[in-house]
């Protein structure tokens, strides 16, 4: 029998080659992810900002004053509350709309493939484009007022969306729901389509109604998928930035629609309060990790 060359043998057997082949990836990961993250942690324990007049690596460690400051920061608290409200509103709505559409699409109808493709388009659009589109749509002389509210309620029914905090935040939520409901639809539809046909037929034979089949067959079977969809979308919604930045910039007035990501952006980019922005980011990251950990607990199955 012909023997494999030495080099091939070495490659097959040795662990060194395996480790060496991960080097490029390790290098990229370290410099793109871990090093900046370490710098962020370091800066959060300093009071450095670009306007300090010295380089960040010369910044003296100041301890935890930035973290203490964060716990007493009313603007951060309000940004957190607004972000939570945003997630609490858009996530269930996107879920319910996505579920409803997925159930509708389970049956066959003419043009189903075309409709499915069209439904995907909002998700494929850049956030900035969606934000700008909805920003223009909700202007006083925009289509929402001129084509919807004016014909229904007359000129007096036209609304100045971006001069009222609640309406402005509502417009942002509508934009988010429009863009991300298709994601929910896609995930849920994929799950529902994979439910074995025989289980549904068995339930039908036993006389179960369509609603009961959905509640007792479909949903329990795709529960892990639903949890994953909710976590992914929930985390994304918590990080919302682009559409708020484009549509309201945190206004009208003083930060009335400011969410956490926008606040951190303002801290670091507009105010150059870099070390404080790092401390706030770190706290948010820890909080998000804890919430995610709790959310995925139901998915963990103990293996005996």
């Amino acid at each position: 029998m012909k023997r494999a060359p030495r080099l091939t043998q070495w490659i097959r057997k040795t662990e060194t080659f395996k480790k060496l082949s991960t080097l490029p990836l390790n290098f990229v990961l370290n410099f793109v992810l871990i090093v900046p993250f370490a710098i962020m942690i370091f800066l959060s324990f300093t009071t450095w900002e670009p306007l300090s007049g010295y380089d960040w690596w010369h910044a003296p460690v100041a301890g935890v004053p930035r973290f203490i400051e964060a716990f007493g920061d009313a603007r951060l608290l309000w940004a957190f509350i607004r972000t939570t409200v945003f997630v609490a509103v858009v996530l269930p709505l996107e879920f319910l709309l996505g579920l409803g559409m997925a159930l509708l699409f389970l049956g066959d109808f003419r043009g189903k493939r075309a409709f499915t493709s069209v439904l995907m388009y909002p998700m494929m659009m850049p956030w900035v484009v969606v934000g700008l589109g909805f920003y223009l749509m909700f202007q006083y002389y925009g289509p929402v007022n001129l084509l919807l509210l004016k014909p229904m309620f007359g000129e007096g029914g036209m609304v100045d969306w971006f001069t009222n905090a609640v309406l402005a935040f509502g417009a942002v939520m509508i934009a988010d729901i429009w863009q991300w409901t298709p994601l929910m639809f896609l995930i849920i539809y994929a799950g529902l389509a994979a439910v074995p046909r025989r289980l549904i037929e068995a339930a039908q034979v036993l006389g179960a109604s369509s609603a009961r089949i959905v509640a007792t067959v479909h949903l329990p079977l795709i529960k892990p998928l639903l949890v994953v969809a909710l976590i992914i979308r929930g985390l994304e919604a918590f990080k919302v930035f682009d559409i708020v930045y484009i549509m309201t910039r945190g206004g009208p007035g003083v930060n009335s629609t400011e969410v956490i990501s926008l606040y951190v952006y303002n801290l670091s980019i507009v105010y150059h309060n870099t070390s404080y922005a790092c401390a706030v980011s770190l706290l948010i990251m820890v909080a998000t990790a804890l919430v995610t950990r709790l959310a995925i607990r139901p998915l963990e199955v103990k293996v005996e």
Partner: protein, 539 residues
């Protein structure tokens, strides 16, 4: 019908075909690359320069001679390239001149464009931290001057000014950048850190055809008891705006013609409209003794009240849309009074963008009646929001060459051609208002605008240009917008801003901020300083 037979391709065949294709492409590409003759780099002179010989030719001549000397001495290698960081979409003022600069000096300029104005700031501040030397020269808003200087990015250009003489100052009355513009856009704590590229002084723009209409004039007189005219004070602005708003005139598309459009949105409200009203009322932003915020004085409350009072007569976009909406709405004929940068008049005069061509007039910004030494005077002060300036990076390999390019491109001769092109730069040198340069500028701006604008510059005052100005103005502009959308009272808006400003000053260092603010006070027009003295704000 029988099922078509599946074509089976073995893994081996697939790998052979795929591998062969890749190798073929690679070899073919390499051979193609080697076979291609080297690219001929040719410069085609497509630009027509309309350079006018006139006063100040020495400014560009000295810049070119300086650049040549740098190359000849070996300080700068021949063919060296300057990287210019610049906002996207507005390269027209500079780019046509790169080939000319190269032909004159043997060095090149390459422009690196970014999306919007805030992106330039973000990138510049990132460069201040990273110190890569990726950009040699940068165009920024003068508002950010304090930040780019204090962060170490902007180089002190005082020595270059002395060496090459760009002809700034009263000793060069024919050619200088009009005072006080030259000083406040380029100086910081007594040193020159920038070259002025622009004059962004706000000018009142109005619908001349409506204000000169005899029917409206008689209606106005019977309603307000005085003649309809270009408003001199902010109180008159309110009357004129109210009058035209209530006429319910219709623009060509059937939408309402509003009385006014003044920036009141969360992005621009403070350092455009509000600051102009505030200063004209004799307000001062900070105390020159302890740097305490002084925006919540009676002047601050009154200025905010004026803005809130104007809101019912303004186009709704004024409260929420970005700056460009003003240009669009005014040019659609949907506002009677407005105030904006000089480029508005170019926009309103262009038939491709405007329905009010030939119907606009320009005037110095309205003022306020204030009492000085027991005598009432009309104080007018025009603000200069964001004025573009050119800075040189401290991390550039060729800082002197970078400075020389700035001096050259806005010199009286070259600048006369550069500035009249559509772009970010606007007229700012004395000589450009006079022959032989004036004809080109009249064509771009209209003669009436030129007559008014030199006066506007002379009455202008700078943006807040100290360290942290972005943060100070962000807090102020949001509060002013809050008062305009009625979510705060004018008093609460300025009180809250003052409260927000104190921790910023403490964080950035009260003494250092005070020093910077004191040097800024000296840059305000003399009549504004006189009012401050009369009020006891400064000594």
């Amino acid at each position: 019908m029988s099922k078509p037979e599946e074509k089976k391709i073995s893994r081996r065949t697939y790998l052979q075909v795929a591998g062969g294709t890749i190798v073929g492409l690679a070899v073919g590409g390499a051979l193609g690359y080697l076979a291609t003759p080297p690219k001929m780099v040719t410069t085609t002179e497509t630009e027509t320069y309309t350079l006018t010989a006139g006063p100040g030719a020495g400014v560009s001549d000295r810049a070119v001679a300086g650049a040549k000397q740098l190359v000849a001495s070996g300080a700068v290698p021949a063919g060296a390239t300057l990287k210019l960081l610049h906002v996207a979409g507005s390269k027209n003022n500079f780019e046509p001149f790169f080939a000319y600069w190269e032909a004159e000096t043997g060095t090149k300029v390459e422009v690196v464009t970014l999306g919007g104005e805030p992106d330039v700031y973000t990138k510049a501040m990132a460069e201040a931290t990273a110190k890569t030397g990726a950009f040699d020269i940068i165009t920024i808003f003068s508002t950010w001057k304090g930040d780019v200087i204090e962060s170490g990015l902007a180089k002190d250009l005082t020595d270059y000014y002395n060496k090459y003489n760009p002809e700034y100052g009263s000793q060069y009355p024919d050619t200088t950048v009009i005072e006080p513009l030259a000083d406040y856009t380029t100086m910081y704590k007594g040193r020159r850190y920038a070259v002025d590229l622009d004059a962004d002084v706000f000018t009142l723009t109005y619908r001349k055809d409506l204000l000169e209409n005899p029917d409206y004039a008689s209606q106005f007189r019977s309603k307000f008891g005085y003649d309809l005219k270009v408003p001199d004070t902010w109180e008159e602005v309110k009357d004129v705006s109210k009058f035209f708003n209530e006429l319910n005139l219709k623009a060509s598309d059937g939408e309402k013609v509003y009385g006014a459009y003044f920036y009141a949105d969360p992005g621009w409200a403070a350092f455009t409209t509000w600051l102009c009203i505030f200063v004209s009322k004799g307000g001062i932003l900070f105390s020159p003794t302890d740097m305490k915020a002084m925006i919540n004085t009676q002047e601050g409350i009154d200025a905010t009240q004026v803005m809130a009072d104007l809101v019912p007569y303004m186009h709704p976009d004024a409260l929420s849309m970005d700056w460009a909406s003003l240009y669009k709405r005014y040019s659609e004929g949907k506002a009677v009074l407005t105030m904006a940068w000089p480029s508005l008049i170019k926009w309103a005069q262009d038939p491709s963008t405007s329905q009010v061509v030939g119907k606009s007039g320009s005037a110095l910004a309205p003022g306020s009646r204030v009492t000085v030494g027991g005598k009432e005077i009309l104080l007018k002060a025009a603000n200069n929001p964001v004025n573009w300036i050119g800075v040189v990076s401290n991390y550039s390999k060729y800082p002197e060459l970078g400075y020389l390019f700035w001096q050259w491109v806005v010199s009286p001769v070259i600048g006369a051609d550069a500035v009249t092109r559509v772009g970010i730069m606007d007229i700012h040198r004395n000589c450009w208002f006079k022959p032989p340069y004036r004809a080109a500028f009249e064509k771009a701006y209209t003669p009436q605008f030129l007559d008014v604008f030199a006066d506007c510059i002379a009455h202008s005052f700078p943006d807040l240009m100290i360290k942290g100005s972005s943060e100070y103005l962000d807090k102020l502009t949001k509060n002013i917008n809050a008062a305009c959308v009625k979510s705060k009272t004018p008093k609460a808006a300025v009180d809250d801003t003052a409260k927000d400003w104190e921790p910023i000053t403490d964080r950035l260092g009260r003494n250092a901020q005070l020093e910077a603010w004191k040097s800024m006070i000296a840059l305000y027009p003399a009549d504004v300083q006189d009012v401050w003295k009369a009020k006891g704000y400064i000594s």
